[in-house]
Symmetry: C2
Subunit: 417 residues, 2 copies
Amino acid sequence: MARINASIITIGDELLIGQVIDTNSAWIAQRLNELGIAVERRVAVGDTTTAIWNALDEELKTCDVLLLTGGLGPTADDITKPLLCKYFGGNLVVDDKVLQHVKGIFERRNRPMLERNMKQAEVPDNCTVLFNRMGTAPGMWFTKNNKVIISMPGVPFEMMAIIEDEVLPRLQKMFVSDVIQHRSIITAGEGESFLAERIQDLEEALPEHIKLAYLPSYGMVRLRLTGRGTDSLRLSKEMQLRQEELANRLEHCVISLQDLPLEQIVGKSLVEKHATLGLAESCTGGNLAHLLTQAMGATTYFKGSIVSYYTEIKEQVLGVSSQTLASHGVVSEATASEMAKGAADLLRADYTLAITGLLSGTKDEHGVEPGTVWIAIKHADGIFTKKLQLFYDRLRNKEMATQMALLYLWRVINGKV
Amino acid sequence: MARINASIITIGDELLIGQVIDTNSAWIAQRLNELGIAVERRVAVGDTTTAIWNALDEELKTCDVLLLTGGLGPTADDITKPLLCKYFGGNLVVDDKVLQHVKGIFERRNRPMLERNMKQAEVPDNCTVLFNRMGTAPGMWFTKNNKVIISMPGVPFEMMAIIEDEVLPRLQKMFVSDVIQHRSIITAGEGESFLAERIQDLEEALPEHIKLAYLPSYGMVRLRLTGRGTDSLRLSKEMQLRQEELANRLEHCVISLQDLPLEQIVGKSLVEKHATLGLAESCTGGNLAHLLTQAMGATTYFKGSIVSYYTEIKEQVLGVSSQTLASHGVVSEATASEMAKGAADLLRADYTLAITGLLSGTKDEHGVEPGTVWIAIKHADGIFTKKLQLFYDRLRNKEMATQMALLYLWRVINGKV
């Protein structure tokens, strides 16, 4: 079975000057992977004819499927459509279906339509139009020398709709390709060198078609096995065996065999225990609540968070005593514990986590070092407290504190402290 | 003055299968831009010798400065260092300074050091070692045919430290280059087509060396002017004139002339008014508080947020009446207003914003459509309320609700409602 390779070209000066972070490519890569199509290269170029033209020439040398995003809007910096039309030798013509769709969008939003919006209904006569149900710029599908070239708008949700509605079904029909599978082992509490040491023999014994990668982040390491084969069922069994082998060896630090963000791993534990969660956040400033509510299921276990950023809110809303604040300071085990108790009274959850810390700057008046964070987790059997000492800058310490809070919450819920 | 072009190669399978989003490139591009070095291309490749080797060959055809990130860790999937050594014809030797540094890191963290960590102190003998104060893998600086090739670890804060400590000062010395300047006009409430229409004559009159780009997102459009020249002061004056011209024409919808995230634009308004802010969040789940506390200055104006995700928390903590909930429902003007009043009593801020919405799913028992969001903003002169109707999926609606809440807050604070 042939291996199908893809390249992605993202178009836009905003990507090259760092004004916008490219999230499209990662999403596209995941979707193509599910079909067994491997993305071999991703290239970002600016809004100039030469840069786009050269990138087309170059990527078409090696890939079977080329996806482009960006440069299809109604303003003067959007040059992709006429360029592709010329590159593949076509002429721009109005597409009636697209025109009706664009008119409909403006009608529904009760906005008058401009000449430049009409132009969005023009498409090269040598492409297949890919319907964009989420916006005005249609996608385009060209074929040349048995290669497929797909152009889509850069607006993420428009691109996603076109990929799912139009691109994936066509690619699936067109290419019979290798199967690619991933399996993960999410660990916490050990560095990647130590993990590598412990599993060295297992890693060396992996067959050629299964690769292992280490992805460290915020006190955790994600191990990822990637396998490639022709028989989906056989590969799946083989991958499961390797995953189990590694997970058994690393048992003391495995927290999940699914590649989920930590807040969802915590969420699953709460669902399993039929337990609810409440928070009292200071230094994480609502980030814990925000992450937890990214998961749809959070409505069943997440009651709420008291984000007490000002010290007076810790006193007046959470009931932390002024004596505690005066003698121990805002960043202390005593304050974290009283925050947890106060939030538990207000929110009446099975688990209540409080967090307070000094993310950056200089020592406070109680001699607390920057990077010091206190976590307190109140539950039916008592209260767990933990001090962290973080080493980075303010925003990274905020994220680190958030992730470590989730990790200790997972440990407390699962009785692993 | 010569134009200096850079390319960035990011190395790692995780970037190609979509497991990790590349934030490094955007950051690097911004830093290089400040020196007048333009990033012309960004390429992502996997952890294979062929892919990296070919990318080196290809990018070195066109760029003056080539930056690589990734593949320098202590595990088997990290192959960049031996590859670069071979590519530039050197031998791996132990660097004493790096060795002492790596040993020190392990000592401070109280962890034993492994053979594979020792290996991190090996560097090619034909490169300049770039000291990595944040981690164990050093950066490397090669030169070939008047081109500079820089290899750095992929861990963002290690890469950032190397760029700032070692790379930028060296590049500045080496290249005298064009000046690149950006100016922004942040607008809200008008689509990009309409903006383009209103400023068409001004856009057409821009000189060759000043470009205009439109970046729409979440109800806002960021206009960005990019200018290139040899005389920094002259370019700056010219850019300012063009920016003012555009901003005057679009006066009714301009909210900032600085390219800041909306939460920081709101923060600046609060600082100017010496006012404080409190929140009662339901559907945004803490995201508003999280974004507001990303800014260092938030400690001066942001008091806190009551994230009332469960309906019972709206009643018991915020004091929304059970009658209001029963007759108007959770997503209603009445509930949003009572949430704002309740939070104002608890947090005693000058402005209190409450938000409640149904982000996805089906109509609720009060006939509220999914995508409906109510915002209430309580302030000294009364209460402002606003209904939003959003059209996207759950997570996008959450982000949209967050951004629209910030926008209406900015308008209320600045008396523009």
